[in-house]
């Protein structure tokens, strides 16, 4: 069943999934030691900056992978669907960021780290992707 579903994927989608999995693996490998070092060792600011950049790189890679996917994808329908999902995720995330930002600025809500914003974006992207897969299955497409 999975094999059948896998064959439905376009080559660009397969490449994007492969890239994302590698980047997630890199993220999972890199982040725990960095956090451990941050908590247990005293580091210089330069080293901390380097560590922060290393932790951010796989996430930046994922955004680059989306861009690469959009330029590689030859199926216009899939490309349009992805663009739509990105537009929804971006609007919702920016909306949440601006509301939270003003609540923070006026001291009504606590401060949160900026990386929660890409996290929200990824969650919304993933959720709308799942909804698309479920609704496609329901309609038999």
């Amino acid at each position: 069943m999975f094999a059948a579903k896998q064959s439905d994927l376009t080559p660009a989608q397969r490449a994007h999934i492969r890239r994302t999995l590698w980047l997630l693996l890199a993220y999972a490998v890199v982040l725990p030691p960095l956090i451990w070092l941050r908590v247990h060792r005293h580091m210089s600011d330069l080293l901390l900056m380097l560590m922060a950049a290393v932790a951010a790189l796989p996430v930046l890679g994922m955004f680059a992978s989306w861009g690469r996917y959009l330029s590689d994808e030859r199926d216009e329908y899939h490309q349009a669907m992805t663009l739509r999902r990105i537009a929804i995720a971006t609007n919702a995330t920016m909306g949440a960021a601006v509301v939270w930002g003003f609540l923070q600025a006026f001291g009504v809500m606590p401060l949160v780290e900026a990386y929660w914003i890409p996290f929200v974006w990824v969650i919304i992207q993933g959720t709308s992707g799942c909804i698309a897969i479920i609704s496609r299955g329901r309609h038999g497409a």
């Binding site: 901390l48 920016m94 003003f102």
Partner: protein, 135 residues
């Protein structure tokens, strides 16, 4: 550079929303600074300036739906993709720098500022790669 009817409508929407933003923001800042806003209304007054900015995001979405010129629309889509990639990357880097205590906290709306800056960046990329920045 093409000025399509959809682009003109988009510009008018953005102008009205920007005026609304100024109308909400200035009293909110004054009110919070001088502690004039009752606690029950603080959330509402803090959210009000955010609404016109959210409106601008919708205006961009509306523009993409209304634009009939496929080439101009494609340029705008490319711009928004660059803007999203740029803003999310900045937020990721800043978030980790915050996490490692290297920079201070930034209010969330700065991500939107980065996004609008990214739109300009997308325009430059369009100009460099396609020879046309768009509207």
């Amino acid at each position: 550079m093409v000025r399509t009817p959809a682009w003109k409508r988009y510009n008018w929407r953005v102008i009205w929303l920007s005026l609304l933003y100024a109308a909400f923001l200035l009293p909110a800042v004054y009110g919070f600074k001088h502690k004039l806003i009752p606690e029950a209304l603080q959330y509402l007054v803090a959210i009000l300036p955010a609404l016109p900015i959210i409106g601008i995001f919708f205006a961009i979405g509306r523009y993409l739906v209304e634009e009939q010129d496929e080439y101009v629309r494609m340029l705008m889509v490319r711009q928004t993709l660059w803007a999203s990639g740029f803003a999310l990357s900045v937020a990721t880097i800043w978030g980790f720098l915050e996490n490692f205590d290297l920079v201070g906290h930034a209010d969330g709306y700065w991500v939107c500022v980065a996004w609008f800056f990214g739109l300009g960046l997308g325009n430059i990329v369009n100009k460099l790669t396609l020879g046309d920045g768009g509207c």
